[in-house]
């Protein structure tokens, strides 16, 4: 079946418990498009890492396993698809992320020192074609991930 244009909207509480659900939605969608199995796995992982970063760092919740998820503890995932690419916007109202100063780490050196912060973002940048971060004036962080379908 041909991929049609579409917008899919998902809102989850900021909780690790829901990561599996997000991955299922994203992979189901990517499988309907013309992505290779490898690219589907990359998109799945990038979205997981982005949501995990929000849960761990943007919202440093003390009640990790609670199902609070109030209006200030939500992650919004907007997926826009067309036959050429997938765009995934992941938004939260947590702490600002210093994306601009971020550099890809020397992973091997980091492992030896056990400083493994930034691994998630390293994976996201390696696995997606475009990655952009924006913080709006009203305090909404949005990470935009784009992956094109290879011809």
């Amino acid at each position: 079946m041909k991929t049609s244009d579409g917008l899919i909207y998902l809102k989850i509480p900021s909780n690790k418990f829901f990561l599996g659900l997000v991955r299922k939605v994203i992979t189901e969608l990517a499988e309907k498009m013309d992505y290779s199995q490898e690219d589907i796995a990359k998109i799945e992982l990038a979205v997981d890492e982005a949501c995990t970063n929000v849960i761990q760092y943007a919202y440093t919740s003390e009640e990790k396993m609670s199902f609070k998820g109030g209006k200030d503890e939500a992650i919004e995932i907007k997926v826009n698809i067309n036959p050429k690419r997938i765009i995934i916007n992941i938004s939260d109202k947590g702490k600002e992320f210093d994306f601009g100063s971020y550099k890809l780490p020397d992973i091997t050196a980091h492992f030896k020192e056990m400083q493994i912060h930034g691994l998630g973002l390293y994976i996201i940048k390696n696995f997606m074609d475009e990655v952009n971060y924006e913080r709006s004036s009203d305090g909404v962080n949005t990470l935009k991930l784009v992956k094109y379908i290879k011809k």
Partner: protein, 113 residues
């Protein structure tokens, strides 16, 4: 996520089952780390063949365990990574750091000194 522990002679096999994401890592963290921290633990084989998915949280947990084992001079080997998981560990440089074998037999040979 769960881990299952099998004893075979002087080798301890730790079988991982489930998705090794932030949630899965939290499920097994305590049990796994107490096992790896225990200096009396024999050679450990980590069976990854039933892990279909792994994120950076799985990687971090693995590194914590490996550090613990190395600290008391223990031996370990991972085997059974599927294609998706292998790609992640290759991309993040983990294949250069971990002791990995392509089969259970080879993993056993690597841990038997």
């Amino acid at each position: 996520m769960k881990i299952h522990i099998l004893k075979e002679k002087n080798i301890l096999s730790v079988v991982f089952r489930g998705d090794f994401d932030a949630s899965g890592a939290e499920d097994i963290k305590e049990e796994l780390e107490s096992l790896c921290e225990d200096g009396r633990s024999e050679n450990i084989l980590f069976d990854m063949s039933e892990v279909l998915y792994m994120s950076s949280f799985g990687i971090k947990e693995i590194l914590i365990c490996v550090k613990m084992i190395e600290k008391h001079g223990g031996r370990y080997c991972f085997w059974g990574f599927n294609d998706n998981v292998r790609r992640v560990i290759e991309k993040t440089g983990l294949t250069d750091i971990l002791n990995i074998a392509d089969s259970k037999e080879n993993a056993k040979n690597k841990t038997a000194g």
